[in-house]
């Protein structure tokens, strides 16, 4: 079986700075993979490259067996390569329902607006925010907006989902709620890449970790192995972080 996503020698330079340097790895269908690394390690740039928001300086990207290097975000979204944003990006003057309906209509294959709204309502309810359908984004809490962002991603009927720090700024109980949802999405066969700083999240979700350091791939392997990797401990985790990761995922 071919990998769902395959990154080969992906490089992105901004002037003299190499933000992502010759990164290669592949993802199989149904995996939940953690993408970790310190601030500025190139995580978000890598997501931007993989989802078409940035074009690579070198390297190629294959998705579901096709070369998608150079494709635009909307083309990739329609193919099922979907992301959420670290800073949530709602359409401010659209209700929560229409925010999701936009994605259902343009990326999720809904035939018309009524069908899109119907799909959107289902997505909102699945994330437990069905009652917010008619609210405008400025009038809902950050935790709910993060869920709205997830609902938008779901409406695209993703095959692969990049979750860029969906838990940043949430409290512990809210995080547990989001984790349950991510697991239920993964249970349907959606491949998920979690970009995270929170060890609790990484430990709870991912069997496999990809570690970036100064733009380059530092480690890629089982969560326990990566946690023991001296290079990773030195560059990113520290001994305390490594200890937190030592517990096997449930």
């Amino acid at each position: 079986m071919t990998a769902l996503l395959e990154l080969q020698g992906l490089t992105r330079r901004f002037g003299g700075l190499t933000a992502v340097n010759n990164v290669s790895f592949s993802l199989d269908q149904g995996e939940i993979v953690g993408l970790i690394g310190s601030n500025g390690a190139g995580k978000t740039t890598l997501v931007n490259l993989a989802t078409g928001h940035l074009q690579p300086t070198a390297g190629r990207i294959a998705f579901a067996g096709y070369d998608v290097t150079g494709k635009t975000p909307y083309q990739l979204a329609r193919l099922g390569l979907v992301r959420t944003f670290q800073v949530v990006q709602p359409f401010m003057q659209l209700t929560a329902l229409d925010n999701v309906a936009a994605v259902a209509l343009f990326a999720g294959g809904a035939a018309d607006m009524p069908a899109a709204r119907h799909d959107a309502q289902a997505c909102l309810e699945r994330l437990g925010i069905g009652e917010l359908a008619n609210r405008l984004p400025p009038h809902i809490t950050l935790a709910q907006r993060k869920r709205l962002e997830l609902a938008k991603a779901l409406a695209a009927r993703p095959k692969l989902l990049f979750l860029d720090e969906v838990n940043a700024g949430l409290n512990s109980a809210e995080i547990d709620g989001v984790l349950t949802m991510i697991r239920s999405i993964a249970a349907e066969g959606v491949t998920i890449v979690v970009i995270e700083h929170l060890m609790k999240v990484v430990r709870g979700l991912c069997r496999r970790l990809v570690v970036l350091h100064q733009g380059a791939l530092l480690a890629d392997g089982q969560t326990e192995d990566v946690a023991r990797d001296p290079a990773v401990i030195e560059a990113y985790l520290g001994t305390r972080g490594a200890a937190m990761l030592e517990v096997s995922p449930p």
Partner: protein, 314 residues
């Protein structure tokens, strides 16, 4: 199916009202040349403001290219008629020329944002003006072009021009309404609110923006053709005057940017003020108008229509 039929009621009603006004108004105003001229100016401004609103309002890209396509349409039609073609062929040529130029031009400059887009769109006005002035064996250069039109009877020309421009205005508004309610308008509003998120939502932003820009420009082109037929004489400094870009923007700002009927209300208010100032404060008319517009925009930042419907998000 029922809901789909309902969606067409208002646009069709606008066209029907437009047709009635287009038929009735020239008869009602038959000999009142001043009112004929005023009504025709209003229809022209509504057309341009409503067309501008597709790009500047719905999509959020402040275009200053209106005058470029207006002038191009005026010249395309005038040149065709000079070569002996009918006025109708002139209109069609105006629309086609504007569309053919605006599609690639729009695609190229719509990747710029905000002020950069505005400046790039403004450049086209100067470029076309220079080209038209320079290409004198076809366009007459700075001498301009005379259009005979309707046997030369000024009153007949005034009536026909009013009919045409009222129909064009109604068409422009009805089309705005249809677009605002359909997938195109929905996609454009997403682009306006957050283009990055729109791309992630699977919205083909470059294509949608180009479609909106092309439709808008084609309407401006036909409006230019109608203007040429109405005035009977065009030269580059008149039809490529940057005020053709600015006035529709002011009208849309006054009425309500991004709303379907804002440009209509705004055009009416703008023209009424312009006439009042012009008549009563001849020496300082334009200045007073400017002050008035500034006050209006300050007091009602979203425009008159949204301010009246306060609390309701457009």
């Amino acid at each position: 199916m029922h809901a789909r039929l309902q969606g067409w009621v208002l646009p069709v009603a606008i066209l029907v009202i437009g047709a009635i006004v287009a038929y009735g108004l020239p008869i009602a105003l038959s000999n009142q040349t001043y009112l004929l001229r005023l009504a025709t100016s209003l229809a022209l401004l509504v057309t341009l403001a409503s067309a501008w609103n597709l790009v500047g309002g719905f999509t959020g890209y402040p275009s200053f290219a209106t005058a470029a396509f207006f002038g191009l349409g005026a010249y395309a039609s005038a040149v065709m008629q000079q070569f002996g073609w009918s006025a109708l062929t002139g209109y069609a040529t105006a629309a086609i020329c504007a569309a053919l130029l605006s599609a690639p031009f729009g695609f190229a400059i719509l990747r710029l944002k905000g002020h950069y887009f505005a400046i790039a769109s403004l450049m086209l006005v100067s470029i076309l003006k220079e080209v038209t002035t320079g290409w004198s064996n076809v366009t007459g250069g700075g001498m301009g072009i005379n259009l005979p039109g309707a046997g030369g009877d000024p009153l007949a020309i005034a009536r026909i021009s009013l009919e045409i421009l009222v129909m064009l205005a109604a068409f422009s508004v009805a089309l705005s309404l249809v677009i605002s309610r359909g997938w195109l308008g929905f996609g454009l509003s997403c682009i306006r609110m957050n283009e990055t998120a729109a791309l992630s939502a699977g919205i083909d932003a470059p294509r949608l923006k180009t479609i909106a820009f092309t439709i808008s420009s084609a309407i401006c082109g036909v409006a230019g053709a109608a203007y040429a037929g109405w005035i009977g004489y065009i030269d580059p400094s008149d039809v490529y005057d940057v005020m053709w870009s600015v006035r529709p923007i002011i009208a849309a700002l006054i009425g309500g940017v991004g709303t379907v009927f804002g440009p209509v209300v705004g055009s009416l208010i703008y023209l009424v003020f312009e006439e009042l100032m012009w008549r009563n404060l001849l020496t300082f008319g334009t200045g007073a108008l400017g002050v008035l517009i500034a006050i209006l925009v300050l007091v009602m930042p979203g425009g008159v229509l949204p301010s009246l419907r306060k609390g309701k998000v457009s």
